[in-house]
């Protein structure tokens, strides 16, 4: 069997995106909770949120950079096209990313109870919510283009396609399904964060917080579960191309995601924080992978091969080689980081 390098390369992209959704998503979710519990949160509760983020958020953020870079290198025209089409939501997501990171760093520089620190914590909460929301909407719009060769035709980028003439990126980015996916993304982040923070609370043996976060995580798992089922209907109604993909190939991953979701609810209920973290992370990762697989063949550059502008296989192989070596180099320190700051013995609270 001959392995097409594009598939290996796409696998790298989507696995990195899934990693970003899980790790970056949990970090955003912590900010969503900061926004939600702003006025009721106790000191310990806030400390837990910020302490969990501190050492890891920058590393988690790099997954996004990585996705961007792999995307534009491997599929330059698709990247250019996506940037044109998704100009508005991407820009807004970017603003969210910028303010989230900056606000986190600035608040950490300030002393407790300083008014400036409170301002930055507020900004942190709002920005952490905005970023996943707009990324969700971007994915929503992107998914509409699972219908023709939009992504694969090389050439001048804007105004050459019937679609981009009728679609003004300034006005039409807020569609029902894109907004739905925006809220869904925020929900997923909040869910992940609540599960991860439940585990953090167990690790640091904070009895009160354990109860609080477990309750929140359980609630969120039900809410997000409902959201996901509703999402399937939304896709069926608004995104027929994507729905076709799910029916053809994506269904297995969707089923796995649902299974992991149920597993995480069960582990939360049975008070197994470690298992809950793994299953919830996998549930989210499978959503991303299901989406990626179901979008095929519309972002699949194979068809480009017959036209101009394909990324040569030889280039792809070089990239795959470099990325593999890079991942092998990065993995040990990444694991070390997690071990220093996230390790625990407790599997049951």
């Amino acid at each position: 069997m001959v392995v097409e390098p594009v598939y290996i390369y796409l696998a790298f992209i989507f696995l990195s995106l899934a990693a970003y959704a899980v790790f970056g998503g949990a970090d955003f979710g912590a900010g969503v909770w900061e926004l939600n519990t702003r006025f009721r949160a106790s000191k310990e509760e806030k400390q837990l949120v910020y302490r969990a983020l501190g050492p890891v958020w920058e590393a988690n953020h790099v997954w996004l950079i990585f996705v961007m870079v792999l995307f534009w290198t491997g599929f330059p025209w698709a990247f250019a096209r996506a940037c044109n089409l998704l100009f508005v939501p991407l820009f807004l997501a970017l603003a969210g990313i910028v303010f989230r990171g900056a606000a986190y760093a600035f608040r950490s520089a300030m002393k407790e109870d300083d008014w400036q620190r409170n301002v930055w914590e507020r900004v942190f909460g709002i920005a952490s919510t905005a970023a996943p929301f707009f990324m969700g909407t971007a994915i929503g719009i992107w998914s509409e283009f699972a219908k023709e060769d939009y992504w694969t035709v090389p050439g001048p980028v804007f105004g050459d396609q019937p679609d981009s003439v009728t679609r003004n990126p300034w006005l039409t980015w807020a569609t029902p399904h894109s907004l739905f996916l925006g809220f869904f993304a925020v929900g997923l982040c909040a869910f992940l964060a609540s599960v991860f923070l439940y585990r953090e609370a167990v690790v640091s043996k904070e009895i009160k917080l354990i109860t609080v976060w477990r309750r929140r995580a359980l609630t969120m798992s039900i809410v997000v579960g409902g959201f996901s089922l509703a999402g399937l209907f939304v896709v069926q109604v608004f995104l027929p191309g994507l729905w076709l993909g799910i029916c053809n190939v994506g269904w297995l991953l969707v089923a796995l995601s649902i299974g992991c979701g149920i597993g995480s609810t069960f582990s939360l209920w049975q008070k197994y924080p470690g298992t809950a973290v793994i299953t919830s992370a996998m549930a989210v990762a499978f959503v991303i992978l299901a989406w990626g697989v179901s979008m095929r063949p519309y972002m699949n550059p194979l068809s480009v091969k017959f036209g101009v502008g394909a990324v040569d296989d030889s280039t792809l192989w070089i990239l795959i080689g470099c990325v593999s070596v890079g991942l092998i180099i990065v993995a040990p320190p990444l694991i070390w980081l997690m071990r220093i700051f996230k390790a625990s013995e407790s599997t049951k609270d």
Binding site: A59, H61, V69, T73, P76, A102, V157, L319, G326, L337
Partner: protein, 441 residues
């Protein structure tokens, strides 16, 4: 002119220049500060509490700068696609490799920054110190990789243009190791050390003159000085190297830098002066005949290509490039004299802190280094115009088709304003915390 000013191309350029020019300042500290931190912590390992206090306080400042660097850099990676889809679409494949490798450098940097910044109490001191080394190395590497991409824009390599408009026979390694790479990366990384070193030294020099004469301030200033003063002489050599590379590969840029309007032998070096593009003259300059020929080609009689060899639409804006180049070189010379003075003082086994005059002259050095660095980028980028990829793609072909970029630019401006004001406020906040040194003093 008005039409050009209001055009989206101009908006895109302004935004790119503004965001890159902001990011690069922070990035310099991302490259240089880890070295200073690492040395300070190393010196503290034998139980020296002053050095330890310096290292911990710098690490807090680094946390703030690193976050600003990370988010402003993220803006850039989106912008490359948002503003220059034509560029990324056509050339992304050729220059993607260094960006991908840079991604790994960021990874390493972010991982070890997390361990370093939050691991003071979790790791044994020696291990903690060791984690600062990968930060310094990956800062160096990320600068190296990204500048290879820029060098490639100056000296495109690693592809062929056959029948179609698209590049074929792509060789990403050849693109990465293009003819401008070594000179430009060396020059940029030295610039980052100079900016970090002199900014730190200037800040503490200012504190010293204000009467804040503690051992803490003295050592922090000296450490910064050593880095800046060692890098500066090397920078002049590498600047000369850069000039020769430019003279070879981008004669139009070189002519603009030196304001050489006519091709000539025994070409004079213009020091200072304001070029007049319409008349092709330089006024108020000191001219040294033959020196330019010598500097570019090592021979006083060598012929130097003038702007008259290029069609008007292929010439970069001469005045901006020439003036920016003069600023960089002038400030480089100032920093060089400062470094020489520092070495002289140490040679005579005197204390720098005894020389009020030296410290007075040191205070502007931090800002001067930043300005020199920015001016250098103006030379590189504006001097390459009208090309975005020298000889292969014009900037106007690369720009996004999206309209209404000005509002986006102003929003970006506002975002960066918040970012930088917040950053400065946070750094000042950190600086105001009293220095705590265990065991007194």
């Amino acid at each position: 002119m008005l039409a050009e000013l209001s055009s989206d191309l101009f908006a895109a350029r302004t935004q790119m220049a503004f965001t890159l020019g902001s990011h690069i300042i922070i990035a310099c500290f991302g490259v240089g500060l880890p070295i200073l931190m690492s040395i300070a912590e190393y010196l503290s390992l034998r139980g020296d509490e002053v050095w330890r206090s310096i290292a911990t306080r710098w690490s807090r400042a680094f946390a703030v700068l690193f976050a600003i660097g990370a988010v402003s850099g993220t803006v850039l990676s989106f912008e490359l696609g948002l503003l220059w889809p034509g560029f990324m679409g056509k050339w992304g494949e050729v220059i993607g490799l260094p960006f991908a490798l840079e991604g790994f450098a960021f990874f390493i940097e972010a991982i070890f920054a997390g361990i370093y910044l939050y691991g003071w109490d979790k790791l044994p001191p020696r291990v903690h110190w060791l984690t600062s080394i990968p930060i310094a190395v990956s800062g160096f590497l990320s600068a190296w990789f990204v500048v290879t991409a820029n060098a490639w824009m100056n000296a495109p390599a690693g592809f062929m243009i056959a029948k179609g408009p698209e590049p074929v026979n792509i060789d990403p390694f050849a693109a990465m190791f293009n003819a401008a790479t070594w000179a430009q990366t060396t020059h940029m990384i030295l610039a980052a050390y100079i900016v970090s070193g002199f900014s730190v030294a200037s800040y503490y020099g200012f504190q010293w003159l204000r009467g804040n004469r503690t051992e803490y301030i003295r050592r922090a200033m000296l450490l910064g000085l050593w880095l800046g003063c060692l890098a500066t002489p090397l920078q002049l050599l590498s600047g000369d190297w850069c000039s020769k590379v430019v003279a070879d590969l981008q004669p139009a840029k070189f002519a603009a830098m030196e304001a050489t309007f006519e091709t000539q032998k025994y070409a004079p070096l213009h020091i200072g002066g304001i070029p007049d593009e319409s008349r092709g003259t330089v006024s108020y300059a000191i001219s040294i005949p033959g020196l330019l020929s010598f500097m570019a080609h090592g021979d006083f009689s060598a012929e130097v290509t003038g702007l008259n060899e290029f069609k008007p639409e292929d010439r970069p804006p001469v005045a901006i490039v020439h003036v920016a180049f003069q600023i960089m070189v002038g400030l480089g010379v100032y920093l060089f004299f400062l470094s020489a003075w520092f070495v002289l003082i140490r040679w005579r086994k005197r204390a720098v802190t005894d020389s009020q005059r030296f410290i007075l002259c040191l205070i502007p050095a931090g800002v001067a280094a930043v300005i020199a660095m920015e001016a250098g980028w103006v030379v590189t980028e504006v001097g390459r115009q009208p090309w975005i990829v020298q000889g292969h793609m014009r900037t106007s072909e690369a720009v996004t088709g999206a309209t209404g970029l000005w509002p986006i630019f102003f929003v970006t401006l506002a975002i960066y304003a918040v970012l930088f004001v917040g950053g400065i406020v946070s750094l000042r906040y950190l600086a105001r915390q009293p220095v705590e040194i265990k065991g007194g003093r």
